[in-house]
Amino acid sequence: MKLSALQQSYLNRRSNSFRGSLPLDSSAACCIVSVVIGFRFSRLVFLFLFSAASLGGEISALLVVHSALATASPIAKSVSAACPPANRTAAGSRVVVGRHGIRVRPWPHPNPEEVMRAHRIIERIQREQRMLFGVKKPKMVIAVTPTQVRTFQKLHLSSVMHSLMLVPYDVVWIVVEAGRVTNETASIIAKSGLRTIHVGFNHRMTISWSDRHKLEAMMRLHALRIVRKERLDGIVIFADDSNMHRCSFCWNSCSFRKLEWAGFVLNSKLLWKDLDDKPEWIKDLEVFDGVDDIESPLYLLGDTSVVEPLGSCGRQVLLWWLRVEARTDSKFPAQ
């Protein structure tokens, strides 16, 4: 049955694409010439020849031919050139019907300057998106990071730094270093391009985990005093570079049993000394002078009921603890 053979040709098609079939004259002629010349061929293609008079589905002839590879050899190209010229869609049209060459430029690799232009375009578009759809007047981000020189400091501090560099808002980075300000730490954070406040804290980092945890809390308080002193206006976040133990402290009236510093955010104005209408539930930083066992940011508050979850953070993991440290007596190879 000729019609079923036509259906068969549809069923046999591999692609789920538009319909199409090999054009009749030029392709058949090219293939026949190729057969005569004797090229090696990779495919067997069944051509159904449709005459104009019998396009109702009848098949007048069946011709089995071999088709050449798409990447033709020079001889095949000359053969193609000898074939009849392709038809035009109409008089005066510049569009040609039939087979076209697939244009590939000699050096296909991207031009680095153009790649940079593309990224600048994307950056400009994203800035426009933030202007149109993002927060209207974004507050400055005040990031607090306690740190100390150690084998893996560069790994951790660089990771925090890269994250802060990607924040599309103003960022002030307060880096509190245990012991004193060192060139090693300064050389790392200098690459950030961010506004940084790099200060030392007059205590050396200890060895035991619990003591280290306490010291870091004191270092964070030290940073908060700087926020107050400089009257920085923004949102304070605690961006730790080091790992720390989870706090297991639990107050009688507290519903937040495991609140980590890094999950806590507050408005920096709450720390200012002379703030008008300062709420009663925020403790003044001065009450912590000399205190060395602050285990949770909830210590800052006199009334923990004011704490609220932000956004939809309860539905996503927003924070991970990267527990990668070396022995305290190890040394990083000299650079």
Partner: protein
Amino acid sequence: MGVSKLGFLGLLFADFLFAVGAVELGRNQPTERISGSAGDVLEDDPVGRLKVFVYELPSKYNKKILQKDPRCLNHMFAAEIFMHRFLLSSPVRTLNPEEADWFYTPVYTTCDLTPNGLPLPFKSPRMMRSAIQLISSNWPYWNRTEGADHFFVVPHDFGACFHYQEEKAIERGILTLLRRATLVQTFGQRNHVCLKEGSITIPPYAPPQKMHTHLIPDKTPRSIFVYFRGLFYDVGNDPEGGYYARGARAAVWENFKDNLLFDISTEHPTTYYEDMQRAVFCLCPLGWAPWSPRLVEAVIFGCIPVIIADDIVLPFADAIPWEEIGVFVDEEDVPKLDTILTSIPPEVILRKQRLLANPSMKQAMLFPQPAQPGDAFHQVLNGLARKLPHDNTVFLKPGEKILNWTAGPVGDLKPW
């Protein structure tokens, strides 16, 4: 103290208010209006400006075909079905043919599908011819104009040439009996025998509800520079390459498959619609025919269409200024796509995005159920209304005959 608590909570609520504001603004992006060559006409209301008479044909020309294969409701040619349904309930419909400005013949010529769901066009000319014979025998209105005040929806690859392969389509030409009628078709290419003057070019059908369910927030950053999903070679129909897409898609692949700026692939992900909304440019290269639904998708999702189809006539080109909202690249310039796109100034790109954000532009691309003001149905009616009043050449003089009823391939003259 209560007041103190409110102080802190106020801060949080203020933050939430920003978020709420962002959500409210989400679909109210600042847009820019621009007119096509016909003026600022996208929001015109065609009601009262024209009347359409819908011929009642036997169901074998329309409803029965659809019952046999409901897949026709979902494919890119579905406009012929939805236009019929729209007209039946439209206020522009008149039941009195004597007062009609236009006549519509509901015949579904792209609903004879292969098992793969692709339309077989081989019997379409006979089907259309049969329908015209019917209306010209049973009503007097065709004969007084030989169809010049009739319009037909022919959304197939090459319109009323009724073939998917261009050389065959050109050889056949527009069906003789349709040469005086107004053709409403997806195919559009200048200086092409399958597009005659006065045709109305429409978008292909893209499912509005489906696209709507894949909308993501406007604030999602557009971080993909160029995006494309689809075939580069049609191995089944064109194993050597060079016929499919006139070689343009193959050129896209061969030049940019390793370019990180180009997110191009044949693999269609489940996030296809979402990814378009994260892209700056969407490639819209020709396939077997110049048009494709991704042109509609690009407009809906705000991804600047990069139109690679020489001499293409785009949908509603007199109402939509495609040169302003899209980027036209010659097929022979495909190897320079990266240079062309990266050389566009950012402010020009932002303006194209603002124009694309115009809701009227998006609405004109869609055939929603039920119809809505400004949608593609109404754009077709507006196009027909702009062709009124009919000029003197429409009505034949007594005894005058123009169309040759026996022209065309012998196979097309067989009864359907």
